[in-house]
Point group: C2
Chain length 354, copies 2
């Protein structure tokens, strides 16, 4: 007998998490021929006499994981769980309790707000949305201006990712309460733009468009509407996976605007992005002194060798060494997943705005 | 050939809405035996040679509608659409364009924020969440205090309902821009509490607990953390369906705290709630003068005779006449659905805080 996951919808008894973090799934589908749970690994469920399908998984790592219910071959969200925009659709998520440091727990400390903001972009000529974390005290301390971390989701995700899957607000609430991080705004834009995806040059066009969106739409909107500092020393940019590529592009090209860069589970994808990567390496070579002077932190991380971005990341790290670009490397096990990215934010945020 | 719905996930070509508001659904499920779309009415889909299931529905009314994809008997969210917490789970939604007054459109007017707030309730002894709309200018006009509309979702929904399905922020942005409504905060609490549901006295216990939660947790939290006016003339309470019952209970019992009540698609459910209803009617009778003096508006609405709450609502209206309780009745066709409740808010908000 396990405990219902915190990601279950209200009143749902399953999925249940056992003490050893195996998970029991149970779904009613009397007329289905085959039902599976897909957590990266696929588990076949077994039908009982009452038409419920059951399975107990292997032990699952701490934190947030996407999963799907597969009914007769169709991957859908499990009606028993909350949904999160990921994998390019509304996907089920399951939160496995973390027994270590409770750094992303909802605890009894002052809490900031998450704000949902619509803005009109003159770059895309459309309404877009961003999520913004304002730290505890933002409403009260009217005389104070704050630095800003701009942080980007990955491919198949959107502006809700860092707030919902990432728990960025709780991580910062806790760090700020412990005086480990400065009070800051976190701006979570929609990083899907232009071609998007990795096909036929789409990503390169997408990176150029996102740089424009950041410089002409997002940053001006934030600096007009919130009490924030507007010098480069008070701006950081970070992102995971596809968001890490945006950070490598927009961040490296604009070190006069950002003093801190965080690249989580990312790296130029070779040979698919040879053209862009080579142009960026040439830019790094030509501007090494300026970049090394401007950046107070160039922080690169991977989710261990099991991270799908690990290999490209290692190649990039070698290149940065070769080009004498100062950087820090950090590694946390867990692969290309949100538990790793939460931990990245937890370790990156304390370095900022000192 | 129709247009993809605005509720489709990014890049999804289906569902498509035709000019006459029939909807084309298309889902890949080569191994499924039977696939249906449930929009209240169930539509059988037909499989084509490539394993896609297709159907074109009847013409669907304007605005937001919940729907399910049913795969071999299992009702799930359609992977092609955004999900919304409703029907007690994450459900698919489809938005049918409104050709009339664009009162809930995202238009070029000043926009307020939606804020997501965690708070610790000493009533439930747990962390709970509310959504709060702050109007345009709230951050800038530090000298100004605002009135507050507390507004409640229905059964099987939660604090996200009025923001997501209801577009309460856009309705108010537009009304405020047109000077048809006063700038106000809208507080959208989680109205699920205690027993919940309508079984074995659960709803009565739930109503008592919600009254306590409002008075001891929600209102004090809002009045401590936001620049709001704290007199009864600056507080309104409204709700739909189950939220309308909470409004009838908490609102009528506390007309010294709320000057405006809005009851959308609701009414005491007879004979299921005889005990509570009779107690409330007795309270109304004893306190008719006080209630009539305190309330500046007691606004009751139904979604036409097709609304499942219509019959109980009519009985209640008769009772209110009999007891000489002043009230206003409004009716908008569409049944027990979000297009009706959006329209209710659009018509109720201009009456407030004059």
């Amino acid at each position: 007998m396990g405990a219902p996951a915190s990601t279950n919808i209200r009143g749902a008894d399953y999925p249940q998490i056992l003490a050893d973090h195996r998970v029991i799934f149970k779904t009613k589908a009397p007329d289905a021929q085959k039902v599976q749970i897909d957590l990266g690994k696929k588990y076949d469920m077994v039908k009982d006499a009452e038409g419920y399908w059951n399975v107990t998984t292997d032990s699952i790592g701490e934190g947030f994981h996407y999963y799907s219910l597969i009914i007769d071959g169709v991957a859908v969200a499990d009606p028993a769980s909350q949904t999160f925009y990921g994998m390019g659709r509304m996907a089920s998520g399951i939160e496995i309790p973390f027994m270590g440091d409770r750094y992303y727990a909802l605890s009894n400390v002052p809490h900031g707000d998450i704000r949902i903001k619509n803005y009109y972009s003159t770059v895309t000529n459309s309404w877009r949305q961003m999520y913004i974390y304002t730290p505890p005290g933002y409403d009260e301390n009217q005389g104070e201006k704050y630095p800003v971390l701009y942080i980007l989701h990955g491919g198949g995700e959107d502006e809700t990712g860092w707030a919902k899957q990432g728990k960025a607000n709780l991580i910062l609430d806790n760090l700020i309460a412990d005086k480990k991080a400065k009070p800051m705004l976190i701006v979570m834009p929609d990083a899907n733009i232009g071609g998007g995806g990795f096909n036929s040059g789409g990503i390169e066009n997408g990176m150029k468009m996102f740089e424009k969106e950041m410089k002409q739409a997002i940053i001006p909107f934030v600096e007009k509407n919130y009490r924030v500092k507007t010098d480069a020393a008070s701006r950081a940019l970070a992102g995971l996976s596809m968001g890490g590529l945006h950070t490598l592009y927009t961040g490296i090209n604009n070190t006069d605007m950002f003093s801190y860069l965080g690249v989580f589970s990312s790296g130029w994808i070779l040979p698919m992005m040879d053209k862009t990567a080579n142009a960026q390496y040439a830019f790094l070579k030509e501007n090494a002194d300026k970049i090394n002077t401007n950046l107070k932190a160039f922080w690169i991380s991977e989710g261990g060798p099991e991270d799908i971005a690990y290999k490209n990341g290692q190649i990039m790290l070698g290149k940065l060494d070769e080009l004498k670009i100062k950087h820090t490397y950090y590694q946390y096990p867990g692969g290309h997943t949100w538990p790793v990215w939460r931990n990245d934010l937890y370790n990156f945020a304390p370095l900022l705005f000192k």
